[in-house]
Structures are given as C-alpha cells and as structure tokens.
C-alpha cells in the first residue's frame, strides 16, 4: 500500500473515531448498571450488561412516553408549518424578478446565521404577549422561526432545478401562478419537500434551549430538555438512565436521516448542477 493511502486511511480512522466515539459511549453506558456508569475509573464496555435503564424508562415514574409524544408532535408540526410557509417564499425567490430580490435572499440567509440565543428574548416576549408560553403551539412557533430561513433556501434549490419551460407551458395553457405552483411544481419537488421537512424536523428535535426557556410544565416538555431536567439531580446524575433515554431519542432521527439521505445529497448539490 502506498504511504499516502496509509496516511489517508489513518486520518479517516481518526475522524471516524472522533465522530463515533460519543455515540459508542452513549450506547455502552445505556447498558451499564448505575454503579458501573458512575464509577471513577470508566469501563470501555459494560462488564455486566443490563436492560434496567431501558426498563426504567418504560415503566418508571418519568413520563418518557409523554416526552417522546410531545417531541414527535412538536417537530412534525414544525416541519409542516415551515415547509408550507417556506414554499411560496422559495418559489418567489426562484422565479420572480424584482428589484430587491438579491437583498431579500441574502437577508434570509443572514438571519439563519444568528445564534439561537439571540432570538430567545424577543421570542419569549412575543409568546408571552400572545399567551403561548408553556404550550406546544408556542414551541412550534419558536422552532419554525428558526427553521424557516433554511427551509426557504433548501426549497429554492429544488425549485431552481425544475425546468422553466414546464412552467411556461402551463402559463401558455392559461394557468395562474398559484395553480402552477400547486399543480406543476409541487408534484415535481416532493422529494425536496420531504427532505426539507426532515431537516427542519431533525433540527427541532435536537433543540434544547427553546423548550428549556418556553416550557415550564414537565408534562409538556420535549425529550432534549427532559433529559437535562429529569436525569440530573442535586446530588447525583443517573448516567445510565440518561444515556438510555438519549439512545432512544437519537433512534428516530437516525431512521429519518437514512430515509431521506439520498434526497438530501441531491438537494445539496442540485443547485450547483443546475447552475442555479
């Protein structure tokens, strides 16, 4: 084997180890007993593997199923709302020709670059005045606010790839723009809609700071925030239980990712290929 290939292989292995090590640790710890998970000298694999942590989630005092349901409902709703609102915006950015088009597009992009915490105070006040604090709906508004810029840009990429002649044919046939969007463009970008929705879903799923800030009732909490609030105590932390909950929290995301990964890759490159 050539030296360059060996170096390449070592670098790849290190990168993989760096990325996968936390995942392995989470999985391994979820099968450790309370004692083994908390001991000072960590063990690389569970010496006495146990399912007690998972049993505790299913039948324990914590409403894990409620947290899971809250998260699924909130993230699904966020994905739908974000895609529905982003679609006409993305279509306008892709097809309409108006003076400030470039500025609007970059403004949307720039807003995406704002740290999440910058939106916290203004969103909190907004939700407070709208009586949406401590509610699933308020959380959806918060998640969608953050996810919209990305959804607009991603959908724009998919719409750019639709040949303009197809829409012009529909214009010649006498259809108005909104019907062209719904009857011609949307059916052609269904993979893009699903991919964008999946991205927004995953982002909302992992969001910790909004649920911690906007939800005060434990029963309305999402998984990410519940992991922090319920497994860390004043005197001890239930590492095994937390890692079991974290593993179950991660699984739906993994399934969602594998389901749409091909479309994701296409979505990330289609803009460049079409010259959009």
């Amino acid at each position: 084997m050539k030296p360059a290939r060996i170096v390449q292989a070592i670098a790849l292995a290190l990168a993989l180890a760096w990325s996968l090590a936390p995942v392995y640790w989470m999985l391994a710890t979820s099968f450790k007993s309370e004692l083994e998970a908390a001991q000072l000298d960590p063990t690389w694999w569970p010496h006495a593997a146990t399912l007690d942590n998972y049993r505790g989630l299913a039948g324990g005092t914590l409403p894990f199923v409620t947290f899971f349901a809250n998260t699924v409902i909130t993230c699904l709703a966020t994905a739908v709302v974000a895609v529905v609102i982003a679609l006409p915006a993305a279509y306008a950015l892709s097809r309409a020709r108006f003076r400030l088009r470039g500025s609007v597009a970059y403004g949307i992009l720039v807003s995406r670059m704002l740290p999440l915490v910058v939106l916290l105070a203004p969103l909190y006040l907004l939700l407070l005045h709208a009586h949406l604090l401590d509610s699933i709906l308020g959380l959806v508004v918060g998640f969608a606010t953050f996810g919209l810029p990305f959804a607009v840009w991603m959908l724009k990429t998919f719409i750019d790839a639709v040949p303009i002649e197809i829409e012009e044919s529909a214009r010649v046939d006498g259809y108005p723009r909104w019907q062209i969007l719904l009857r011609i463009v949307v059916p052609l970008i269904v993979p893009g809609l699903l991919t964008t929705g999946a991205f927004v879903f995953m982002e909302a799923w992992n969001n910790l700071i909004f649920p911690l800030s906007f939800i005060t009732t434990l029963d309305k909490q999402t998984l990410a925030a519940a992991l922090v609030v319920t497994f860390t105590g004043q005197f001890k932390t239930d590492w095994g239980g937390m890692m079991a909950a974290a593993t179950l929290t991660t699984l739906p995301l993994m399934f969602a990712f594998f389901a749409v990964q091909r479309s994701m890759a296409r979505g990330l490159t289609s803009g460049a290929i079409a010259g959009a």
Partner: protein, 374 residues
C-alpha cells in the same frame, strides 16, 4: 384568425439590447420563420409575441388589437418549446388535456379532441405513457399535439427540432408542415438552421444582433440578399467573399485584385456609389461557379484564380474551397471532377450572378444585371 403586427419592438435586459427596433407584419395563416445565429434575438422576439417577455418599447398587435398588457394565457396562442416543456408527472393524455381542462370544456369534448389529435400525429398508442418513457421524436409529437389540441389562433415554435438527430429532423419538418396545412393557423417558427428556414417558411425573417436584417420569401433571400450577413447566412455551402478594387473605364466597370478579374457592363445612373479605385466585396453562389484547372483565363465575365484548400465529398457532388489573395470562395462541382488539394484552379461565372456589397457597411449594392428572384 390572427394577423400579428410588431411595431418598433425593443427589449432591453439592463444594458443589453436583445431586440432593437423590430417591425414586422405577419399575415393570417402565414408560416413565418425567424432565423439567425445564437444571440440574434429571434427567441426573444418569439417570447415577446407569446407574452412571456414584456417589451421595453413598441407594440404587439393581434388583429390590430394591442396585446402588450394581455396575459400570455389570454392571447389564444400555443407554444412548442425547444426542450418540449412536457409535464413529467402526467401521462401523454393528461399533458394534452391539461390546457383544455382550464377552459371548463366537458370531459367528452376534451377526450374527443385529444384522441383526434393523437390520431393525426400517430401517437394514440402512447397516451398512457409518461414523457420519460418516450423517445425524442415521440416527445416532440406530444409537444406538437399539446399545441394543436388547443386549436389556437397562433402557433409559436421555438427550435422544436434542435434536439433531434438529422434524419428525424428531416422527417419532422415535413410533419410540421403537414400539420400546419391541416390546422390553418398563423405560425411563427424559430430556428438557427437556414436549411429549415428555406424549406419551411412562406417568408423568412433573418435576424442578427437583435435586428431584422431582411424579410422575404426563400427565393428573394437567396437571390437578392440585402447585405453580406444575409448572403453568408442563407445558402449551403456559404458564399465566399472577395475584396477587390472597383475601376471605371470607358463606360464599363472592372473589378480586380487578389486573383479576381471581373468586367461588368455599366448602365447609366448605376447606383454603385463607390469612388474609382475604391474597395467593394463581391460574391457568387457556389453552384454558379464553373471550375477549370490550371492558369488558363477563360473568356468569362468573372474569373477567379487560386489554389484548392479543402475538398469536401458529399456523395453526389463536391464542395471545393479555393483560396485566393482576395479571400476564399467555394464551388459546387460534380463528384467526378478530379480535384486535389493544392491544385491551381480557375473559377468562372456570368456577371448576372455576381453579388456586390459595400466594403464598409456590407449592404448590397444594387446592380441591374443581377437575375430577378425566382
């Protein structure tokens, strides 16, 4: 019925002028071809007629009614795009019926029209298929069918054959002309292929640089090109152009220089406004040139002497490209004429077939001895 009038049309994209001061009258049921190289403005002009582009200046009229502000869907036009523009997620049947459903026609009426058109274009077996299951030629027929089924007043076709292979292109040209005769609507056809233009158009509009260079029948454009551009663009192979000096002596004109000798009987009041000794550009259609070998100077009106640069064998004939100091010319000669590269040859022609152009502007200089158009 639809007459189309374009009056002083201009289209700008920021600082770029795509179409400049174009005026054109298209009669009802006429088949007009817009032809020119890429970037000449022909597609932009077609899209302006369709309403897909707004004019920067000028007026578009259908039957003397100004339609500048009329939406594309309300202009009673049908368009066939270069890339067909078929709806990928619909069957052939739905592609053809889609435009009719917008008009709230009864289902039975839509079905009858779609099937009748499908029979006309021999695509009835394809009605249940989707565009990705069709060949290029089949997609082209479906695109045509989608236009025909709407029974419009005007057909607009934007290079519909450019994605087909040469053989299929020839076949589809005839199909389109047959269909046009059957539907009797006004048609405006865009192409960059001058052969397509010559074979299909009732009249041809030659465009270059966003401007109309000449409008005429195929015969007019071929025999009496208005300028050097039209002369070089129309005709296969293209005419070669030779630069020589104009000399007036004893009531006749002589053109000489760079391997060219031509004598032209002058008429009183000849409108060739070039000073004695000034440059002009001459050209002759390749089929009007007779070829003889060697340096002999034949007793002909026009004699061009040079050496053979390239010989193209086309089966039934040859194109012989001859380099002379004044430029280069091409002659069409029989295939059994023994010509080789680097042969010294003499090309002769009658003065009746000589085209003369202004060396500065490229405009055709009227010459009364030129043959009238066929």
């Amino acid at each position: 019925m639809a007459r189309i009038s374009l009056r002083n049309i201009e289209k700008r994209y920021d600082d770029v002028v795509a179409v400049a001061d174009c005026s054109l009258e298209i009669a009802d049921r006429e088949f007009v071809v817009l032809v020119g190289p890429s970037g000449s403005g022909k597609t932009t002009l077609l899209r302006i007629i369709a309403g897909l582009e707004h004019v920067s200046a000028g007026d578009v009229l259908f039957d003397d009614v100004r339609v500048n502000d009329v939406d594309v869907g309300d202009r009673d036009i049908a368009m066939v795009f270069q890339n067909y523009g078929l709806y990928p997620h619909m069957t052939v049947y739905d592609n053809m019926a889609f435009g009719l459903r917008r008009r709230d026609l009864p289902r039975a009426a839509i079905d009858e029209r779609v099937r009748r058109t499908a029979v006309l274009l021999a695509i009835e077996p394809l009605l249940a298929r989707r565009p990705r299951q069709l060949s290029g030629g089949q997609r082209q027929r479906v695109a045509l069918g989608r236009a025909i089924v709407r029974d419009p007043a005007v057909f607009l076709l934007d290079e519909p054959l450019s994605n087909l292979d040469a053989h299929l292109r020839v076949q589809m040209r005839a199909e389109i002309l047959k269909v046009h005769r059957a539907v009797t609507a006004t048609a405006v056809y865009v192409t960059h292929d001058q052969v397509e233009a010559l074979t299909m158009g009732d009249r041809i509009v030659v465009m270059s640089g966003g401007r109309i260079q000449q409008v005429g029948t195929p015969g007019e454009l071929y025999d009496r090109p208005a300028n050097q551009f039209v002369a070089s663009f129309i005709g296969t192979p293209a005419m070669g152009f030779l630069t020589c000096r104009l000399e007036r002596s004893g009531g006749s004109l002589r053109l000489a220089g760079g391997g060219v000798h031509a004598r032209l009987p002058a008429e009183p009041g000849l409108p060739i406004d070039v000073p004695d000794g000034g440059p002009v550009i001459i050209a002759i259609r390749p089929e009007r040139l007779a070829l003889s070998r060697g340096d002999e100077r034949a007793d002909a009106d026009v004699v061009v002497q040079g050496s053979v640069e390239v010989v193209e064998m086309l089966g039934s004939e040859q194109y012989v490209h001859v380099r002379v100091p004044a430029g280069s010319v091409t002659a069409r000669v029989p295939r059994d004429e023994p010509v080789r590269i680097d042969d010294r040859v003499t090309l002769t022609a009658s003065a009746r077939h000589l085209h003369v152009f202004d060396a500065e502007t490229g405009a055709s200089l009227a010459y009364p001895q030129m043959a009238p158009s066929a």
